[in-house]
């Protein structure tokens, strides 16, 4: 394990960004999101949760797939270049690391999504442990330890130092490149902080959230529950929950006419939207209740059914904080729990 003084972090970022693109939480117009490091970026490592998850780094909100160009009667097609340079995502939290694992299940299984894979191959994840989790967090419910993130490198901010622990080959290579800025350290300070944080985690209101009864076997039972009809009512059908979510992976493919040609791109889509999966015959989910149900069934039933029990929720709590109508997955789970208990 290594350490570096907090004051020297700018030097570390500068060093990394000399050879690699570096993404980290940056404050822009009062909001913190992952963005590319620049000399004058307002880096905010203290921010527990960026508004959007860092999934953009691997699965951007929109990306061009290929470009058609027309000149006179000649048509040329240029596929978009795949990521071929290494880049670093610094400051990713344990829940969001898990979120990327969820995305991997989707994009790296056959047929492999080459755009995503290229980014995964070239991306180095430097995770940052949480110190002060908040009331909206419930990562523990998914077996995540926010004090001990598992990525290429794990880091901790304790006191005036950042502690740095490479966990993979990629992490080791990155460490070698910046080692000159580090001093060796033992893990006592980190352990102490981990204990403090864990004690807080125990007190968090959502940490006892039980996912018992949510798995692939309960599909029809959950699907047919009358509860949905009640739960969805306040839903505005916006895409906030989807777009801040670290695991939502649905996208649409669209064409943009540039005048001289067409750019085919994909962009995030939301199952909350009325024209999600719109087809020639119409839409297979015609009501907002169905769309609302879809989102939670997908995260808690369909996904685990297809992925060895892995939920596609990581308990980051962003939807809890951002839903305009104060709806969220926790409320859904609790509602079913109550219903079950009442019986």
């Amino acid at each position: 394990m290594y350490q570096i003084a907090k004051n020297d972090l700018p030097a570390l970022f500068r060093k990394i960004s000399e050879t690699k693109e570096l993404y980290l939480p940056v404050r822009v117009a009062d909001q913190v999101n992952f963005a590319a490091y620049t000399e004058d970026a307002d880096v905010s490592l203290e921010t527990l949760k960026t508004v959007k998850s860092p999934k953009d780094a691997f699965f951007p909100q929109s990306e061009t797939l290929y470009t058609c160009h027309k000149e006179e009667n000649k048509l040329s097609i240029t596929p978009e270049e795949l990521q071929n340079q290494e880049f670093v995502v610094f400051g990713i939290k344990a829940c969001d690391v898990k979120g990327i694992e969820v995305l991997d299940k989707v994009f790296l299984s056959e047929p492999v999504d080459t755009f995503y894979k290229a980014r995964r191959d070239h991306g180095i994840l430097v995770a940052l442990a949480c110190n002060e989790p908040e009331e909206s967090c419930f990562c523990k419910a998914f077996g995540i330890d926010c004090t001990d993130p598992k990525a290429d490198v794990a880091t901790w901010l304790v006191g005036d130092f950042l502690y740095w622990n490479p966990l993979t080959e990629k992490g080791a290579a990155l460490t070698d490149a910046v080692k000159e800025l580090f001093a060796e350290a033992d893990d006592s300070a980190v352990q102490k902080q981990q204990e403090t944080t864990k004690a807080i985690v125990e007190k968090l209101p959502y940490m006892d959230l039980s996912l018992e009864g949510w798995n692939g076997d309960v599909l029809t039972e959950k699907f047919d529950s009358p509860l949905w009809e009640e739960l969805y009512q306040p839903c505005l059908a916006c895409g906030t929950c989807t777009f801040v979510c670290p695991t939502c992976q649905c996208y649409d493919i669209k064409d943009y006419t540039t005048g001289s040609g067409v750019q085919r791109y994909r962009c995030w889509d939301s199952c909350m939207y009325s024209d999600f999966t719109m087809m020639a015959h119409g839409n297979n989910r015609t009501s907002q209740m169905q769309r609302f149900r879809q989102r939670f069934m997908h995260k808690l039933v369909y996904f685990p059914a297809n992925n060895d029990g892995m939920y596609s929720c990581v308990g980051c709590g962003r939807c809890v904080e951002k839903c305009p109508s104060a709806l969220n997955i926790v409320k859904v789970v609790k509602a079913f729990q109550k219903e079950g208990g009442d019986k």
Partner: protein
Amino acid sequence: MQELVNRAKELLANGTVQRVLGWKAGDMAYNPEPSYFESEADLSEFVYDAFCGANLSKYMIEASKKEGKTLVFLKPCDSYSFNQLLKEHRVDRDKAYIIGVGCKGKLDIEKIKKEGIKGIESISGIGMEDACDTLKIGTLYGDKECSYQDVMLERCHVCKGKDHVVFDETLLESRDTVDSERFHEVEKIEKMSPEEKFQFFQKELSKCIRCNACRNVCPACSCRKCVFDSTKFDSAQKANVDPFQEKMFHIIRAFHVAGRCTDCGECSRVCPQGIRLHLFNRKFIKDINEFYGDYTAGEDINQEAPLTHFEFSDREPNEERG
């Protein structure tokens, strides 16, 4: 608050209304959700406090399609939205029993968090019966305090007033919360150089993730299908691929609600990226007031709306504009 519950129970019991549209207590101090209550028992979860910012008038579009009357609680500002919807034939007055509820200013949880307060376990001082001067906040990291006024939603600082423009009865007293000039922010931007304006909005809008929360919460944006979801203008977009699309969406959205927007502030309240969306709508409101005379959408349903009306002597578009 208990008065509201009691009255709701009465109206349910005597058959005046079939259901109640109000706010249901959340599992945290600050996250009540809009909700229907069909029975007396349901109402045990009813809440009305400083975090009931959600404007329920838009829900009345759907409620108007339901059997029987719906009791809806509207804050003074919400009543303007309801009236505007009424003017546009989107809600049915006969299907609504409106209780105008008082308001002491609604709170913005984001502002509380901006004060550095995290791990919130409890908040006191938010009830209608409270003094609403200071909030006492219990957190995982110790007890905190902050001034109620400081963490109010932006809209409450420029509150339209304590009067409801449409109601069947009113309950609870409101209090004066105005401590800012409504158009101050807009004027500040107007005074910037074009370059500064451009940079300001470019930065502000670059945060937009096109989640459509602003649109979907907006009582004026109640189109069955938005132009940004339809093929009518070849304008369907699901993401802002280019900074232009951020502008396009927000300009057109503001234009479509110009003269119809009641400045209820819901767009700014719900934006996950904290974009000050009211700056768009309020610009149009300010322009309309200046160019065509004071107009408050939703105030009077018989008044001619500024964009479906004209005067022979209207100003020319090319005139020097501030």
